[in-house]
Structures are given as structure tokens and as C-alpha cells.
Symmetry: C2
Subunit: 115 residues, 2 copies
DNA sequence: AACACCTGCTAACTTTCCTTGGCATGTGCA
DNA sequence: TGCACATGCCAAGGAAAGTTAGCAGGTGTT
């Protein structure tokens, strides 16, 4: 359910990394107007399906879009995607808070480190 | 001057790409509390100067931080960095708007393309 | 002079991301 | 049966980002 409240540091990085791509931004923009299925969206954006698939997968992994399989009238399996109404506000303060829950590269899981 | 109003699509991508990195987020967080100079900040974050330099440069390129050379009391040249009070709100609608001013990979400069 | 501290840069390696092309599956219609 | 359109996945090359190590210059103090 959206992201009005700063998620964990790792989630933040994932979301930012996901949105930091022209193609993915276009996908979000397109889905913001109207949901669409893979092949159709690929044509609309002028990119290959394989490429779109990868981007859609990342967007879904970050929770920015969701997929739903449906059967068209003529029996074709259509995978419809739609944007998740997220709201993310970025400010130095917000980032400072999120950083506290940032996981280290390869170490364990329990951060909690100060000078 | 911060970024309360959605910047161009390219700027958005640049800002997102810049923030989508653990180290850079830590840098922003650290500078949010208090400005600092390169070497000192490197020690504080536990990373090499060379690495920090690269990240600081990217942050500065995206306009998220600013640098200012100063001379310490004992004559040492200190390069102090401080965060820029930016405010960036991310929503599907905001992205849809920004995408309209997205530049294409290698083409010219005039976007203006719809279905 | 030697040491400690500051600054900057570049070359080179490693890792990750992006993108393409091909292959396999399924449906409905001429 | 063959074409059109839908879904998916995987291998592989190319491009970009991250990181390290080393070099060079500066000042002040012991």
C-alpha cells in the first residue's frame, strides 16, 4: 500500500534504483493513464517484449506495479499491469532516517552501528 | 533551489540514479546532520577517500550537495560539503509529467511524441 | 628532513545492468 | 495447416557503474 511513510533503507534504495531508468519511467507513466498488457505496451513504447518484461519485473519487485492475468474475449491469455498509487517524498531528513535501517553489503542482518 | 516542482525527465533520472546508492544515501544522511570535509567524512563513513570523492562528485552533479573550499585555522585546505535542502515527491502522476520531457538515447533534442 | 594531515587525479579491475535474439508454449481464425 | 497474437524464459555480448591502489601536490609541526 503506497509508501507515504519512509520504508526501510534497503527498500528505498530498491525503489530509487528501479525508478532511475528512462524505460521504467515511461512504463510507469503509460500505466498511470491506463493499465495495459505486455505485448500491447511493448508496441506502444516501441521496445521489445523481452526488454519490457525485464523492466516490468523490476517494477513489480519494487512494488510499484502489479500484474494480473486475464483471459481476453477470444481466449487469449493477457497479463495486465497497473501502477500502484505510491507516494514517496524525498528530503535529506527522510533519507537520514531511512539510512538507519540500511543493511551492510555482505555482513549479517543486525545493523545498529554508530561511531 | 531544491526541487519542489518536477524537474525535466532527464533531471529526474539523474537525481534518482544518484540517490539509488547506499553510500550516497549515507553521505546525504551524514551531511544532513552536519557539513563535513572529504577526509573527515571518509573516516566517519569508513570508506576510502577516492571512493567518497566519486560519490560526492555525483551528488554535486545532481545538485544534491554543494562544495566549498575553506582554509582551516592551521592553513590546511579543507573542502566542505553540505546538503542542498531538496524536496522531491514521487508519484505516478509526477512521473507521467516528467516523462514528457525525457530525451531519447542518441537522437536530437526535440521529443514531442505520442501514439 | 620526516611525518601527519589536507587536496586532487588516473588507470585498471570487477561487478552489475541493459539489451538483443532465439526458442518454446498456447489460443483463435482463414 | 499456417498465420497472427498472446505468454514466458535463457544465453550472451556490450555498456555503465562501483571500487581499489597508486601517484602527485600542498601546509604545518616535531
Amino acid at each position: 500500500m503506497s509508501a507515504a511513510s519512509p520504508p526501510t533503507g534497503d527498500d528505498l534504495v530498491r525503489m530509487l534504483a528501479t525508478l532511475a531508468n528512462p524505460h521504467r519511467l515511461r512504463v510507469v507513466a503509460a500505466l498511470a493513464r491506463e493499465r495495459a498488457y505486455v505485448s500491447g505496451l511493448a508496441r506502444q513504447l516501441g521496445i521489445s517484449r523481452a526488454l519490457l518484461q525485464v523492466h516490468l519485473r523490476k517494477l513489480a519487485a519494487a512494488g510499484l506495479v502489479t500484474a494480473r492475468m486475464e483471459l481476453s474475449e477470444d481466449g487469449k491469455a493477457m497479463n495486465y499491469y497497473e501502477v500502484e498509487p505510491f507516494v514517496l517524498t524525498l528530503t535529506p531528513a527522510v533519507i537520514a532516517t531511512a539510512v538507519e535501517t540500511l543493511t551492510v553489503p555482505d555482513a549479517g542482518e543486525q545493523p545498529e552501528a554508530r561511531s
